[in-house]
Structure formats: C-alpha cells, structure tokens
C-alpha cells in the first residue's frame, strides 16, 4: 500500500527529473544573430519614416529636447545619486558584451579603446589597462540613463568584461565586500561568473569572468586596490 511518504518521494523524484531537463544545452547562437538583425531593422525603420515626413518638425522638437535635457541635467546633477550596481546588473552587462551587437567596436589595445570611447563620450573615465589581457572590443552601454564603458578582454582563452564608470553614476554594491592581503575590493558571484569591483579617484571598475576573484583583482594596477 502506498503511503504519503512514498507519494512525496515519487513526486520529488519526478520534480528532480524534470529539473534536469533544464540542464540540456541550448544553442542560442543563431537566434541571437537573427534577433540582432531584427532589432536593428526595428530601430532604423521609424527613422526612415520620419525623414520623409517630419524633418522640420523633428528638427525643432529635437532642438527643444536637447536644450531641455541640458538644462535638466545641469539642474539635477548635484543631487544625482549613484546607482548601486548589483551582481545581476553587472552579469547582464557581461552577457551583453560577450554577445556583441551593432554598437560594439573592435579594438586591438587600450589606446584604441580609449580613442573609440572618447569619440562617443567626451567625459568618459580613463580606462585602466588590465595586465596580460588581450583587448578585443569596446562599447558604451546605458544603465538607467548613465553611461558606462565596457571592454571585452581575453585571458588564457576565456572572456572577461571590464566595466568602467564614474563612481558618481555607478557605484559598487557594498552588501558584499572582501578584504584580502590588505587589498580592498568588493567581490560578487553570479552563477559561474565571478566579479570584482574597485574604486579609485572617482572611477569604478568591475572585472567579470570565470576566474577566481583574486585573479581578476590582480589584473588591475595596485593603486586600484588601496582606495
């Protein structure tokens, strides 16, 4: 005769077996390419319509918006509160950066990355040079309206994302912090991703990848770890 205990055991076993279906590998590469293409079309389509119809009106509205935005930004700037970057947010950026996209700029070194970022963001923070890493690409992302610079790096065949922002815009999530060897930096983990955050001279830097925290932290010059 079946008991409640055996019922539970059976139900739990079925749940566990179903959960294993989620571990089956899924190849999203082709879908991602298709989506990128479709997203680009959607973003460019309305512009084409505007060009035909609304050039004078759009120009006037754009001018007003730019002036208003400038005034608003200047008014709001002193009270602007930095966004605390959660591990999920940084992991999301990492995922986005390694996925690539229409705004990704291929670069070969930190100088090229700095130039490419500066063209698009005049007030961009200085990009630190991670030791031993191959620089692959860079891009600018927006986090709740704040700009962040992202660089895709490669170390021993594995990808690392470096996210750089003004600390006044994006700051570390202080709910998790580690102190190791007198070097202070915040550490986080999200899934199989480790991330470290260091702040120095008003600039926040995150390094994200499948490396131990300490190894990620050591990629940046020592001065970053003493702040």
């Amino acid at each position: 005769m079946r008991t409640n205990h055996s019922d539970d055991k059976l139900e739990q076993a079925i749940r566990a077996r179903l959960a294993r279906l989620a571990t089956a590998p899924v190849d999203t590469a082709r879908l991602e390419c298709q989506l990128e293409e479709a997203m680009t079309k959607i973003r460019s389509a309305p512009v084409a319509r505007l060009v035909n119809w609304w050039i004078p009106i759009a120009a006037a509205v754009a001018a007003i918006v730019v002036i208003s935005a400038t005034v608003n930004v200047r008014l709001l700037e002193p009270d602007q509160v930095p966004i605390a970057a959660t591990p999920s947010l940084i992991a999301g950026l990492h995922h986005e950066v390694i996925t690539g996209g229409p705004f990704t700029i291929p670069v070969a070194n930190i100088e090229q990355a700095t130039q490419a970022i500066a063209v698009r963001w005049s007030d961009a923070p200085a990009l630190p040079m991670p030791a031993d890493c191959e620089v692959m690409s860079c891009c600018i992302h927006h986090v709740e309206g704040r700009k962040v610079a992202c660089m895709l790096l490669r170390l021993r065949g594995k990808l690392i994302t470096m996210v750089v922002a003004h600390t006044k815009d994006l700051t570390r999530d202080d709910s998790v912090k580690a102190t190791q060897d007198n070097q202070r930096y915040a550490v986080y983990t999200k899934g199989n991703l480790n991330m470290v955050c260091m702040q120095h001279n008003g600039i926040s830097v995150w390094l994200v990848g499948e490396f131990p925290h300490k190894e990620l932290a050591q990629l940046l010059p020592k001065k970053w770890m003493t702040s």
Binding site: M1, R2, S6, D7, K9, L10, E11, A13, I14, R15, A16, R17, L18, A19, R20, L21, A22, A24, V26, T28, R30, L31, E32, Q34, L35, A38, M39, I42, R43, S44, A45, P46, V47, L89, A91, G92, L93, H95, E96, T99, G101, F103, H141, H142, V143, G145
Partner: protein, 208 residues
C-alpha cells in the same frame, strides 16, 4: 491581467525604440534567452520553429519594454509573452498536430486521469532508478502529451524553476491553481511514464 493588456497595447503600436530601450531590453532579456528557447523547443520539438516563436516573442517584448517594471520578474514577463505568442501561432495554424492538444486541455481541474492511490505506485519502489532510465526525449514526449495548461505549469515550475507566483503570472491564474496543476501534472506524468515503462518491460526490473 493588467500587465498583459499593457503588453498588447504597446506591441500594437508602430513606434520604434531608441538605443537606450534596446540596451535595456538586451540586458533584461538576453540572460533568459536559453530558457525561452528551451521551453519553445520542448513545446514545438523543432529547433527552427522554436527559434521563430522566441524571435517573435522577443521582438514583441522589446517593443513593450517600457511596460516592464524594474525589480519585477523579467523571466516571468518574457515567459508570459512567449506563451501568448506560442498560443497565437498555434491558433493561426489550424492544421498542426498540436491543435488537438489545445482542444483537449479543458477542464484541467475536473480531470481524473491520475491513478488511484496504491494502484500504481507500489511498483515504483525506486522512483529515482525508474526515472533515470528515461532519456530527456522520453520525458519531453510524455510532458508534451499532457494538456497544455498542465504542460506549461510543469515547464515553468519544475523545469525552469519559476516560483509559484511567477508561474501564476505567466499563466494568468491564482497561485493555488498553479500548485494544484503542478501536483496533478506530476501525477499524470507519472502515469504516462509508468505506461511507457510497462511497454518497455522496465517495471519488473524496477521492482527487483
């Protein structure tokens, strides 16, 4: 459901999206792409079709990105759009085999498909061992023969590990209904797997 109405309204608009919205969308949606594709693949059992469904759903979601509230469950939000897209496509293609499953899905709560206590399960003395014999495709086969609402519930709760509240949002039903569907669904799945095990001559093996 207010959220769904909002999604439809936004999706219906022909407005484009700006780069900031596109970036926000990617940040929210990309981490769940594998879950969405896996779910669609299990439902359609066809890679290309699954990709088409997910792409359509993702584009709807991108256009409706402003309706998503930060801090809420992005995976549940995307799954809601995926489910609606899947059902719409299913309804649009009347000749498909899956059409039968839609017709067969009601009423879920009043069904009496599961075995009487004691009828089957004393044979499942080692459920783990029994279930390990089934390959993923067997599990998916059994899962997709269940009524749609039950199948979706198990995909969301047991496979994709959404909590009951998240699954309730996706399915647009109360949390209690999700719990009862999940429980009933596991029983129905057990019955189907048991039949398969019998056909394959595994039942006596498991008893031994």
């Amino acid at each position: 459901m207010a959220n769904s109405l909002e999604i439809n309204r936004k999706t219906a608009s022909s407005h484009g999206i700006d780069d900031g919205q596109a970036q926000r969308f990617k940040r929210l949606a990309w981490p769940h792409l594998d879950s969405l594709l896996r779910t669609a693949k299990y439902l359609t059992r066809h890679q290309q079709e699954a990709e088409d469904v997910v792409q359509e759903a993702m584009l709807k979601a991108m256009k409706a990105i402003d309706s998503f509230e930060d801090g809420t469950n992005a995976k549940a939000w995307l799954m809601t759009i995926l489910r609606r897209t899947y059902i719409d496509r299913l309804r649009a293609s009347r000749s498909r085999v899956h059409e039968v499953r839609l017709d067969a899905c009601d009423p879920v709560e009043s069904g009496s498909e599961t075995a009487t206590p004691g009828e089957l399960d004393d044979r499942w003395e080692n459920p783990q061992k029994m279930l390990d014999q089934f390959e993923n495709r067997d599990m998916i086969e059994a899962l997709t023969t269940l009524p749609d609402d039950i199948c979706w519930t198990l995909l969301l709760v047991d496979v994709e590990q959404l909590d009951y509240a998240g699954a309730a949002k996706v399915l647009d039903v109360p949390v209690g209904t999700v719990k009862s569907r999940a429980h009933r669904g596991r029983g129905m799945l057990r019955d189907r797997l048991f039949t398969t095990a019998q056909q394959r001559g595994w039942v006596e093996e498991a008893k031994a």
